[in-house]
């Protein structure tokens, strides 16, 4: 997994609330058995007409946002299906950070497994960043994970909260499975204990 430390990039504004994972990557693209290559179908049904033409109005089709690395989104981003194809598609497109007032649980977790930083900020902060993002490619937003801050192009800075363990893993690009396997003896002990306590499980 790629580390996330700091990022300065173009932010695409997506003020719609409840953007669900079916919108982020529609089911016809879930049939892959790989993680890569989903970027071209990110937001597919909002981004292309049924015959595959780009819809010019859609934010990521606009020249200013084609290289966006950040999305500033409406409330409850990533709700719906647990598909990790959603963060895979975002990452494959080049998105490394999503900023919103709230995220759905599973999507939020999935981001961290893929080197994407989801940032939760209060409504006023998101509104400020949304306005900033609307200014286009010259309005770069800076996200600093170490300091836990987001800085708008006008220099206004917002601090965000993040779980210390998740931050540590993301800063260092750590693989969860490797970390957990270091606790194999604790898992062995748990299994031995429950084999007598709850033998049916």
């Amino acid at each position: 997994m790629e580390k996330f430390t700091t990022l300065t990039g173009i932010a695409a504004p997506m003020p719609l609330v409840n953007i669900d994972t079916d919108m982020i990557i529609p089911k016809q693209f879930l049939k892959t058995i790989q993680r890569s290559g989903l970027g071209k179908n990110l937001f597919d049904e909002m981004r292309y007409t049924p015959d595959g033409q780009e819809i010019p109005d859609f934010v990521l089709n606009q020249p200013a946002y084609r290289k966006a690395q950040i999305i500033v989104a409406g409330d409850n981003f990533g709700c719906g299906s647990s598909r990790e194809h959603a963060p895979w598609a975002l990452l494959d497109f080049g998105i490394r950070c999503v900023i919103s007032t709230s995220f759905a649980d599973i999507f939020y977790n999935n981001c961290f497994k893929n080197g994407i930083l989801p940032v939760v900020l209060p409504p006023e902060a998101v509104a400020h960043l949304m306005d900033d993002a609307k200014k286009g490619e010259n309005a770069r937003i800076t996200v600093d994970l170490e300091d836990q801050t987001v800085t708008a192009s006008d220099g206004k800075t917002f601090a965000f909260e993040i779980d210390a363990f998740k931050k540590h893993c993301l800063l260092n690009g750590l693989d969860d499975i490797g970390l957990t396997l270091e606790k194999a003896s604790a898992i062995d002990a748990y299994e031995a204990r429950t084999a007598t306590l709850r033998p049916w499980a």
Partner: protein, 471 residues
Amino acid sequence: MAPRTLYDKIWDDHVVHQAEDGTCLLYIDRHLVHEVTSPQAFEGLRMTGRKVRAPEKTIAVPDHNVPTTLDRANAATMTEDSRIQVAALDKNAKDFGINYYPVSDVRQGIVHIVGPEQGWTLPGMTVVCGDSHTATHGAFGALAHGIGTSEVEHVLATQTLIQRKGKNMKVEITGSLRPGVTAKDITLSVIGATGTAGGTGYVIEYCGQAIRELSMEGRMTVCNMAIEGGARAGLIAPDEKTFAYCMGRPHAPKGAKWEAALAYWKTLYTDEGAHFDKVVTIRGEDIAPVVTWGTSPEDVLPITDVVPAPESFSGGKVDAAKRSLDYMGLQPGQKLTDIAIDTVFIGSCTNGRIEDLRAAAAILKGKKIKVKRAMVVPGSGLVRAQAEEEGLAQIFIDAGFEWRLAGCSMCLAMNPDQLSPGERCAATSNRNFEGRQGRGGRTHLMSPAMAAAAAITGHLTDVRELMGEMV
């Protein structure tokens, strides 16, 4: 010990290790796997030379992609990429030695219907699956939630998950439901009241007389949609109905182990005085048969109501509602019962169990459909077999429904069962998102009885009016 909630108790019994910052390693008792969210996880194991730690606790079944037409044994019914995904699951199940129900097995079906049916899901367990509707299993008093593919790989390799504990939320449904009102109406009404993010960060315990009075099937319907309310999981404390459902299932404990299990299961309830961070109370008598009008499960109203005006909402919801109405092709003020329906879909892990088929068949008996097409997709091969034995299948067929084989089908339209643009569907599934049932398709969520009512009138219908006719 301080009084604990049901969630607290199950959590405490599964902590393998707790770090200083509160991050826990949680043991997973049952891991359910399907073909869409697992290939990359198994690939990860291969690349790192890791094994499945507890194959005997891991169960796989293909459900999302599989065709539900009677000729599905013919490989040509599947698209190339679907075939590859199902073949990958076949191979992964075999290579890693996990319990498997292939398409050819009569027990095959939607993973969340197969788990309880086969007795894999039991009270007090932790259950995960790479699927958000894993919440279904909470009906047994099991802590069950969806995970992403990286976590699927983590559970395969370690039989644990790295988790932080969620908060406790109580949803109490007091009193009894009125006639014509079902578990689906409860769960949709709760989401209507709390919103799709109302449960974010919480585990919901559903309780109250109306929940107690539900069958296990109804309880599964309620918990299934906890995720649509944003909650990580839904829970219902196990009781005699739960134990009776579990007894004798193929993978339920037997003999002395059953007795030991039962004694433990009886300790699984929220202690008097335990703390909930959030409480929502709804009177069962106040719940009406409901339908959704928009493209979010929170867009729910009693069938007697009218399509709302976007201006009646606030904040970002105003634009979202405008977009929904445009997508759904509806006008504010239009009576819900005036909305004409093209297609009816009865099935999914929300409402694809035997009781759901009984409820729909009771409305359909001796009637003909007025919609263009209607299909019943049983949740498992065993539900299908039972419905045939009870004569329900014939009622559906006589009414003009297609009688399908088991799978997810038009709940998410990954297989050939899809809506075409503008086609309007009365569906018993759980998501009305844009494009969920096919690009441009318009979904109204409701109970099986309400879907059956729409099938025979050709428009959204208050099932209570038809029930009046029946008595």
